[in-house]
């Protein structure tokens, strides 16, 4: 089966995010960029399905030339080829990203698209769902387990929802979004890294896709959240109970 996965370039989740003094964006000068943590899980799931059923894993990244780094990492993990959609650095909203992906899906015709459920930078959690709607495909978001039956062309997906686990069956082709507990992504091996250099990586210019990506969502400014005032210590349980009583937060 053919599986399309995504690799958004985002700050390392453990890096400290600082704002530019004028609030126009984040200060990226000391930040290490990696594959969005949720996309990494999506890539891993694509690889596992390929290992089980055969086929091909195609990885897509949308952004500047710097995203080659994230595509190469995915190729080193085991993906077969990469597509970079070079935006020349222009800002895209979630609908714009989903339209580009839909355009690539039209060309590539995968059986399955797996994306991270959200990106750890903008935390929007929209692209998978929008993509599914644009394609008219079923979606299975927040996946924690994916079982595929190639004969019936269906996937049974366990999804992390508020009340527990919801199980849905979707017909393929479908869009799946990966949640944290879907799998534990592998590290790229040294031979994997060597091989990745030889794997095909195609760059497509955003203009050549002929997709209207003019954004309807703009980010006007960034600011730091108000700091929670804390730091008070108590020395033992009795003092703690005293503090609870004084603050009147006990339900009795």
């Amino acid at each position: 089966m053919k599986i399309l996965v995504t690799a958004k370039r985002t700050p390392d989740p453990y890096s400290k995010i600082k704002l530019k003094p004028d609030g126009s964006g984040i200060d990226t000068s000391n930040i290490k960029f990696v594959i969005n943590s949720f996309d990494e899980i999506a890539i891993e799931e694509g690889l596992r399905k390929k290992e089980k059923f055969g086929g091909e894993v195609v990885v897509v990244s949308i952004g500047t030339q710097e995203c080659v780094e994230q595509i190469r990492t995915a190729l080193a993990m085991g993906a077969d080829r990469g597509i970079l959609v070079d935006t020349g650095g222009r800002y895209l909203d979630q609908l714009g990203v989903a339209k580009i992906l839909a355009r690539i899906v039209e060309d590539e015709k995968p059986d399955l698209v797996i994306l991270g459920k959200q990106a750890i930078d903008d935390d929007a959690n929209q692209v998978s769902q929008i993509l599914a709607e644009l394609l008219g495909w079923p979606q299975a978001t927040f996946a924690s387990k994916v079982d595929i039956d190639l004969n019936s062309k269906k996937a049974v997906v366990e999804r992390e929802v508020d009340g527990g686990i919801e199980v849905d069956e979707v017909s393929l082709p479908a869009v799946i979004s990966a949640d944290l507990r879907l799998n534990q992504p592998r590290y790229a091996s040294l031979p994997g890294i060597m091989k990745a250099r030889q794997k095909p990586l195609k760059t497509v210019k955003i203009e050549d896709l002929k997709v209207d990506v003019s954004p309807s969502v703009e980010v006007l400014k960034f600011e730091a959240p108000p700091q929670r005032q804390g730091g008070k210590k108590v020395k033992d349980v009795d003092e703690l109970i005293q503090a609870l009583k004084e603050s009147k937060v006990l339900p009795f």
């Binding site: 750890i120 954004p215 929670r228």
Partner: protein, 323 residues
């Protein structure tokens, strides 16, 4: 032109957390002059329809087809879009529950609308605030599209209260069915405790609890306080508690009166899910744990000694106050 709020149902009843979306609609109504309607999709009970008709909405749209008994984003989208078109909705709003997060981007795509996820503040009719980077940054976003779709962070808006006036009730038929998806089952996490997002007391456990066999220490404290039990990502990843116990940026956001963090270091992703709690207690043996920086009462102690002692003493206090 109007505002449409999609309410969420659970076992036929209106989920209280979804009433925060009604409050958001009221704020937008004040800013734009538009009236708001509410939609009940699925299998609402008579009492849910009654409740929805006392939320200050102009109309209540009820869509209860057999194929909508179980939620799927694909079929609910068809219903929401139909109601949005019928009512001339310029805004479509829901709470950012797992259902809202799954459904609303699909609705937005169909309506050609720009969407802002998990907003925490309404500035004006097109400008909103929302968290990014796991809550370390607040972004002000503007939606330029004609129709705007929003999900709201449940803890950032009060739950709308009942009003005495009654809205008109309209039945809506939806015959179109999406064929490519089938609901199989919901494996509910059974608990006699209140829901995490609704509880006034939340006790959360982190890696410091050391193993699933020790969680009962936290459960005893939780039950004395009549609260809900939560967990850090580490505990859920380890499989010590089910996924829907997770508090944090990728889990649930809570803002109880009292939040007690046991053996939780206070990673930014966790703090993003609880920092709006009114009073935060942290018990951790590591005095350097970042959770102490945001705690209103921090106790540096071995939780295996401090928590049972706290539970016993609170139990006594409770018995005294109950007379």
């Amino acid at each position: 032109m109007s505002i449409l709020v999609v309410l969420e149902l659970k076992d036929g009843k209106v989920k209280p957390v979804s009433l925060s979306a009604v409050t958001c609609a009221k704020l937008l109504s004040q800013k734009t002059g538009l009236l708001y309607n509410v939609a009940l999709i699925g299998a609402p009970s008579d009492s849910a329809v009654e409740e929805a008709s006392h939320l200050g909405a102009q109309k209540v749209f009820v869509c209860s087809e057999e194929h909508l008994k179980h939620y799927t984003a694909e079929n609910f989208k068809i219903a929401v879009v139909k109601i949005a078109e019928l009512s001339g909705a310029k805004y479509v709003i829901s709470v950012a529950s797992s259902l809202g997060k799954d459904l609303m981007p699909r609705v937005a795509a169909k309506l050609g609308a720009g969407m802002a996820s998990e907003i925490i503040e309404v500035i004006d009719g097109e400008t909103f605030k929302r968290n990014m980077y796991a809550g370390t940054v607040i972004a002000t976003v503007r939606l330029k599209s004609d129709i705007k779709v929003l999900t709201v962070k449940g803890t950032a808006f009060e739950k709308a209260e009942k009003v005495s006036s009654k809205s008109e009730i309209h039945k809506v038929e939806v015959k179109e069915v999406f064929e490519g998806k089938r609901f199989v089952e919901l494996r509910e996490t059974k608990s006699a405790r209140p829901e995490l997002t609704e509880a006034s007391v939340v006790v959360s456990v982190g890696r410091g609890i050391k193993g699933p066999e020790n969680i009962k220490i936290a459960e005893e404290l939780t039950d004395v306080l009549g609260g809900a039990l939560g967990a850090s990502r580490a505990v859920v990843d380890a499989g010590w508690l089910p996924n829907d116990y997770q508090v944090g940026q990728t889990g649930k956001t809570v803002a109880p009166q009292l939040y007690i963090a046991l053996g939780i270091s206070g990673a930014i992703q966790h703090v993003a899910g609880m920092k709006d709690s009114k009073f935060v207690v942290a018990i951790n043996k590591d005095p350097e744990a970042p959770i102490f920086q945001i705690a209103d009462a921090g106790l540096v102690a071995d939780l295996f000694q401090a928590v049972p002692e706290l539970t016993q003493k609170l139990k006594k206090l409770k018995e005294q106050s109950m007379g």
